[in-house]
């Protein structure tokens, strides 16, 4: 009898401890920048989407881990033969976190709001092709475009195109109300943002109950936070010199993926001597991408030869267009009328890859006789001087928007590049929805930019993710600015 009792007790202990060992359901993630607000439709800051996209807010479509377009609030759609009319069949029985129902009126409201005259949507251009949005019935929306747009479904998957409710649209900045698998918990400004599982979610329930995004501005602080267990994941963090320390620790997984950030030596194409193709080609030949990646990005990052992400299916490797060849660069400079080189300036924004990369590029340019004076500037200053007023010669910056090759076709964009042949390709691309044809056109566009040496094309900014080895489901790449937590779970 006594023995039986102790067996029973032992069994009980096993049971209890098993329960205690059930997988964790909370996760603390470290992010370097605090979002200025919590409304993806009201700001360009990547941090907004990195907290809320796919977690709290959803759009008609969504972008998946490999950059593919997936159904979200629209469960299916049809496109008219002329490519101008999109009819979205919406999911029914979807509720916002405040308990109100989602329906076609919300879609019309959100799209009309984003393209209105007084809209402050940072990506208003995504909606420029929309002519009308009609509610057919509560579960069907018809969007008519002014002209066919091949990337329309992709555009509707951006964070800036998420669907919001009229009742909460104005207060989303502080108290976001969406339809996603997580609802907003709290925001301690300057410190952390907490999301909790939304039980009313229409899709597959998420494994995590509570998620905290903790703002850690300093890489030197992020490592001890990780080592002490306070933080269990740094989904996208440039750790710099501190990375090897974490890499050698078996408790953590270090996953190096790709962002959509094309890092370029931005060049003022209208300003002499950069209006001369030979000068730009000389600069292209003077750039040693490997040295820049080693020095400015810790050896991580894929070299690029044009403005396109190597993670994209339509990518063409054009890094061989103007290979590293200082002698040839010098010869080209001489042909262009600058046998002794010239003086110029290099304005650098306050980010590691630009400041470190700038030193290397300045020294590589000096090798071919170009004396580039480095001018460090703040972001606000960079946006004003370089981006808005185009008062610059050279600069280094990463263009982080996905699929943004069309910026080279924009009027008055700060590269000051204007090539009718390129415009034509982009126009055709806009009117094409056939995937094979689009891939071909993307290839042509990449080739034109590479040949014209519009900018110095350096490397694709890596996404460096570090998380507890027991955490699964975080994205390796960042095809869109997001920390999609829908598939994240703890495993033993």
């Amino acid at each position: 009898m006594k023995i039986r009792k102790s067996v029973l007790a032992a069994a009980l202990v096993v049971l209890v401890s098993n329960a205690a060992y059930a997988a964790r359901t909370d996760l603390v993630l470290g992010i370097p920048l605090e979002p200025p607000n919590l409304d993806p439709t009201a700001g360009a800051a990547a941090a907004i989407d990195e907290v809320l996209y796919a977690n709290v807010f959803e759009g008609l479509t969504r972008i998946g881990a490999r950059g593919e377009v997936l159904p979200a609030l629209a469960e299916s759609w049809t496109v008219s033969d002329d490519g101008k009319v999109y009819t979205f069949k919406l999911r029914t029985s979807v509720k916002y976190h405040d308990g109100t129902d989602f329906n076609a009126d919300d879609v019309k409201f959100s799209l009309d709001r984003a393209r209105a005259d007084n809209s402050t949507n940072a990506q208003k251009g995504l909606f420029a092709a929309i002519d009308t949005v009609e509610v057919v019935d509560s579960a069907t929306v018809k969007v008519t475009l002014k002209n066919p747009q091949g990337s329309f479904l992709y555009n509707m998957g951006w964070g800036d195109a998420v669907i919001v409710a009229p009742e909460s649209a104005e207060t989303n900045k502080d108290n976001p109300v969406g339809t996603g698998p997580f609802k907003f918990g709290s925001w301690a400004k300057g410190s952390s943002i907490t999301l909790v599982k939304a039980d009313s979610y229409w899709g597959d329930p998420v494994a995590l109950d509570k998620v905290e995004f903790r703002i850690i501005p300093d890489a030197a602080a992020a490592v001890p936070a990780l080592l002490s267990g306070d933080v269990q994941a740094l989904p996208n963090f440039q750790l710099g010199d501190a990375l090897p320390q974490v890499q050698s620790d078996p408790r953590f997984k270090v996953v190096i993926g790709s962002t959509e950030g094309e890092t370029v030596l931005a060049t003022n194409n209208k300003k002499p001597p950069f209006d001369n193709l030979k000068v730009r080609q000389a600069i292209a030949h003077a750039i040693d991408r490997k040295a820049i990646i080693d020095g400015a990005s810790g050896g991580y990052g894929v070299p690029i030869g044009s403005h396109f992400s190597p993670a994209n299916a339509a990518y063409v490797d054009l890094t061989g267009t103007y290979p590293y060849d200082p002698a040839k660069a010098k010869a080209l400079l001489a042909e262009a009328g600058f046998p002794d080189g010239f003086k110029t300036t290099l304005k650098l924004p306050p980010v590691g890859y630009a400041r470190d990369g700038g030193q290397i590029i300045a020294s590589e340019l000096r090798d071919i006789g170009i004396d580039a004076e480095i001018i460090p500037v703040e972001w606000a200053d960079w946006l004003k001087q370089v981006f808005t007023e185009k008062d610059y010669d050279l600069s280094i910056v990463s263009h982080t928007e996905p699929n943004d090759i069309d910026i080279y076709a924009r009027k008055d964009y700060y590269f000051n590049y204007d090539n009718p042949a390129f415009h034509k390709v982009i126009e055709e691309l806009n009117l094409t929805s056939d995937e094979a044809k689009r891939t071909e056109l993307y290839g042509q566009a990449q080739k034109i930019l590479a040949d014209d040496a519009v900018n110095g094309f350096l490397f694709e900014l890596p996404k460096i993710g570090i998380w507890d080895a027991k955490v699964e489901g975080l994205w390796e790449n960042a095809p869109i600015q997001a920390t999609d937590l829908t598939k994240v779970k703890w495993v033993d």
Partner: protein
């Protein structure tokens, strides 16, 4: 005494008025545009302009200046461009971290510095003095972010006694909140204590050479009474001055420590606001700090009068 204080208060008010004009115009010269910063590279010009109107940035310089100062008079600091919440709320949240942190580190540094300074002065030239001064030299020389990281690795990563950083908020309870402030307070207090100890020692040494000390000793007063009652009290003027300066520094000059411990303090708020061109926040916080420094200086002046009877009678 009253006239003395009134004079100081009037000077303080004048400083505030001048400061508001200087702060506002200097910051307005900064290049950059809060609306463009918010909407980024890809935003169309009309969207940026719409946001400018929403933020009230389309109005002229003088209109905004008088609007702002008018608000200040009624303690209305305006709304943050970036967060679009009242500036006063932001500041109050941050002050709930910075103020206790400043007070704890001030108390800590005083508790370390005074005994060390007195101890060293009393044993001038002897090994104990040399050791204490070498230690304080080390305290002054060590960069505090390095010392802070050292503390984090020992107490948070290795011993796991306290969190590596962050602030759970006072709503999480007094103990968790205090726990989060312990390491930063130590990291801040050490260099302050080192400076303060050196100042205490040298001020005390000056006083110890005075005639009245010799008299006190000749009277047969024990060493302890001479040191703490007669000498230290007379040496307090420079010490209080330094303390006042240190408090002002501790309130907002601690961006580096706030970064290492990722604390949501005033220093980081200002730093972030400058980068985002959330100028109304910067301007308001700077004005609050100016006001704080003026008040602290006033208090220091009052305490001068308390420790130095001569100042009490001066008009």
């Amino acid at each position: 005494m009253t006239a003395y204080l009134l004079k100081r208060a009037a000077a303080g008010l004048l400083t505030l008025v001048v400061a508001s004009a200087v702060v506002f115009s200097v910051l307005e010269i900064l290049p950059g545009d809060a609306a463009r910063l918010m909407l980024g590279f890809n935003a169309t010009e009309d969207a940026v302009q719409a946001l400018r109107v929403q933020m009230g940035l389309d109005q002229g310089f003088l209109v905004r200046y008088f609007h702002w100062t008018g608000g200040l008079l009624s303690l209305d600091f305006g709304r943050s461009y970036t967060y679009s919440v009242p500036v006063i709320d932001l500041v109050a949240e941050r002050a709930a971290v910075s103020l206790p942190l400043a007070l704890i580190s001030l108390a800590l540094s005083t508790a370390i510095a005074l005994p060390v300074g007195v101890f060293a002065a009393a044993r001038r030239g002897r090994p104990a003095d040399t050791l204490a001064m070498a230690a304080s030299q080390f305290g002054v020389a060590v960069p505090n972010f390095w010392f802070a990281l050292l503390l984090v690795y020992v107490f948070a990563v290795w011993l796991r006694l306290v969190p590596a950083g962050g602030f759970p908020g006072w709503s999480a309870g007094a103990w968790p909140a205090l726990k989060a402030l312990i390491l930063p307070a130590i990291a801040l207090a050490l260099p302050q204590a080192a400076i303060l100890a050196r100042v205490t020692r040298s001020a005390l040494l000056d006083v110890l050479g005075e005639d009245f000390i010799r008299t006190a000793r000749a009277k047969g007063l024990p060493q302890r009474a001479v040191l703490w009652r007669h000498a230290l009290r007379n040496a307090m003027l420079p010490v209080l001055t330094i303390l006042g300066l240190q408090f002002a520094f501790l309130l907002a000059g601690t961006v580096i420590i706030e970064n290492v411990f990722y604390l949501p303090g005033l220093g980081r708020l200002v730093f972030q606001a400058i980068n985002q061109r959330d100028l109304i926040v910067v301007e308001s916080v700077v004005m609050l700090l100016v006001a704080t420094v003026i008040v602290v200086n006033l208090l220091v002046d009052v305490s001068y009068a308390l420790v130095d009877p001569r100042l009490r009678t001066r008009t």
